[in-house]
Amino acid sequence: MEISVSKQDLLKELTATQGVVERKTTIPILSNFLFEAAGDKLSITATDLDLSLRTNCPAKIKKEGSCTIPARKLYDYVKLLGDGEISIKLLENHWVQIRSGRSNTKMVGMARANFPALPLFPAESAIKLPAQVIRNLIAKTIFSISSEESRYTLNGALLVLKPESITMVATDGHRLAHVEHVNSKLPVSGEMKVLVPKKAMSELSSLLSSLLNSSDVQVVEFAKDESTLFFRLGSRILTSRQLTGQFPNYEAVLPRDNNKSVTIHCDEFSGAIQRVAQFADERSNAIRMRLEKDELKVSTSNTEIGESEDSIETSYNGDPMVIGFNSQYLLEFLKVVGTGDVRFEFKDAQSAGQLRPDEATDSEYKYRYIVMPMRI
């Protein structure tokens, strides 16, 4: 293999793949890139077996072929090179020579044959999804995904595709984020449900932002086979192992009879919680919310740290009640919502509370966040 590629092009693609390359490597080959040169393209592949990214950039191919190069070292090296053409040439014994201007480096690669084979993108069954929507769905749910490795099916979000809507649901057993985008028209029949692992979601999200910023392609092509999910964004293909297993029956936990509600301005609410939560227990982050007429009081009291209370003016006129929550759970939601009003709906101190942005501000997305109270 012998090619020449511009530094800018190469670096852009290498940067995009960094998130996928295995850091704590157990299998040495996984910390390498696979470089394949064919036609007028250099394709670059990185994988950690669960997640893989295949991307390409234009290159002048003098001799077709393939090689593997240590990913981290190459990336760090290329960053330091001056602008201009970089020539890459495979030498004997898997050594790879990289030359640019007056710099000359030989890196020790590994045998091409060792690099795991990746499933091919099944172009014919692909569904086009709006990129911006997917990005929003991910942002609105990813924080609720459980980080406990043992609860396997909660380590990802459920993506539900219907002809008229796209839904994403994530939960960790204490709270649940549910967001539905209506007004989409998808070429699916019936309903299609897949579990997307968290790492794939965050990788997809960052690829989507660079895609939306840099090109005018506004769709992501999605496909799957029995075990793998594929996302194609322009010239990049992200493949992820599919999570298998039963996602909890989330519909059963969506509260239906929350008869009390209060509307609060997001900034005001999150400011109050942040202040009060300073005095919450470090482990449970519990805060107490007291609803009284025209007033919501957020408070904590801790015999070891102190106590704190914030009061927010609201138009509540139901029965007074007290309910405890993990402040962290509320803050994460409010941070995603950002601005505008949120509606907080309750039934009693034992039942799930529901938060949602006020309908007027965001009509395209139906976003609801269920959070279980704490007994304090």
Binding site: E148, G173, H174, P248, N249, R283, S284, N326, M374
Partner: protein, 647 residues
Amino acid sequence: MGRIHVLSEHVANKIAAGEVVERPASVLKELLENSLDAGATRIKVQIEGGGKKLIHVVDNGCGMVRDDALLAFERHATSKIKDAEDLLNIDTLGFRGEALPSIAAVSRVSLETRAADEDSGTVMEIAGGRILKVEESGLPAGTSIAVRDLFFNTPARKKFLKAESTELSHIASLMTHYALAHPEKHFELHSATNAMLMAAPVQSHSERIYQVFGKETLDQLIPLSADARLERVGIPEPPPWRRDEEYQSPEPGAIRIHGFISRPEIQKLNRNSIFIFVNGRLVRDRLIQHALTEAYRNILPPTVYPVVLLFIELPNQEVDANVHPAKTEVRFRQPSFVHDFVRDSVRATLVKARPVPQFTREITALPTAAPGFSPGTLMQPASAEFQLHSQPQPPINERLQFSAAPAIPIEANAAISGFGSVPAPVFDRAVIAANNDPCGNLVVEDGEEIPENMALSTLRPLGQIRDSFILAVNADGLWIIDQHVAHERVLFEKVLRERSRAAVEGQRLLMPLLVELTPGQQAVFAEISEELRHNGFDAELFGARTIAVKTAPAGVQSAEIEKMLLELLDQFQREEQVLNLEKARTRIAASIACHAAIKINMPLEQNKMEWLLAELAKTECPMTCPHGRPVVLRYSVKDIQRAFKRI
């Protein structure tokens, strides 16, 4: 002809012998108790063939006149009690009048005795219960009794005796117990080849421990002393109209316990190092043992045992030794009071001592490296045993053990010199006297040491080893803290505190977690569900043998909930005792703490480590985790200097 006939006395004695005389050590026990009851201050014992050939006890007690000597071998002949009333108030070790005839029935006994105020003594020889010879003779005051050929006429019994070395070790440990119980008396134990125990009279129990076990052991023990007045609950007083004129309410008396308990880093695999003396009598009492286990709960892991020397003194009416012929069991009139008193005193002493494990102690606390506590093992062909100890340690130990390399051989030597054939070491009484506290207990003081809780709060974390152990320093030296158990201890006390204020925080679950139980677990669940609820668990029965957990303690990850619940239920199920609420509470707290605590292999930032150490310093018992493992190890500056040969 009728089938029933009265057994001859000969046979009856043999039957009684079966109860009283089980092995050579039980013969020695009876003889020692006789000597002690006779007021002897010097007792010398000579053993041959593991006691099978000869047990020879010589004392300087009150001795017997000729008639008494003859009577002593009759059944139920005793000088110790007169009537049934006396049974309620026994202050001698023996009282049944069965020992001597039982022993005489199964061995050849020769007795030489002279009462102090008689001119001449008596020599008797008895074999298999028959008196062969009674003679007058000039003898020193006191009694000398030699038991030869034990079980010579009951071959079946003889077969059941263990190897000579085993029997000898039983004898040695028995002798050790009595020596410990009576520091003011002189004890000697000789086997055919060497002197196994030489203990000159000393002032206090601690000095006796030094004589018997050596300095290392003494250093590892914490003195304990407590007393309390007994409130009489046993016998109701007669009503006023039936009282005599000169009737006086009985004085309830007081219970006093003193002795020594080990620091938690000493862990024994069996109860053989627990010595309990009730009014000077060695007993194996389940009640007291249970109290000790309770006291060490959350300090020692469940399957290991501490070293305990406990002397319980209480009025004779309060304790009944007449439970079993061997008298190793006693009954207390107020068992729960005694139990709680022992538990609380031991617990309080432990907490006060706040023992800090040290590296060298950790090493020597390994079962193979601490011969000091098990005098029995010294009776093995000794040379082989000690060669084992002096062999170079495996490399891993060498690295762990920073202190001077010969630490272990030195300890072995100390054990020999304390116990073995060499004359008792010169004991610097002046030093001891200077350190004696008012209770007569030895206080081991180290001038440099800062109180441990203060020491902890001055710790500055340096970093982690393998993301699991925090290294920290202060003026005191180098400390290593196990981050998981440290956090566990912090959380444990927090959960208990919250529980006592009924303010445990629970996080409700989005979807109830279904847990399937076995019938046994379910029974336990029914019993403790209320307590679980107070600890942040809300669970209800859901179908036949399934529970639905709706709320879990805050901070416990959902994946841990099921594991933790099942673990708890299993623990309670294994417990044979009736559930007691306080125990359930601490156990649940320990379990919550364990599952909520940070794990090992978790990188911590500097401020997190600082936070953890500060929190740990605030805890009540920062040195051991609720399951009894040590939390911190300390390597003092002195140890470091010593290891670098600077001092």
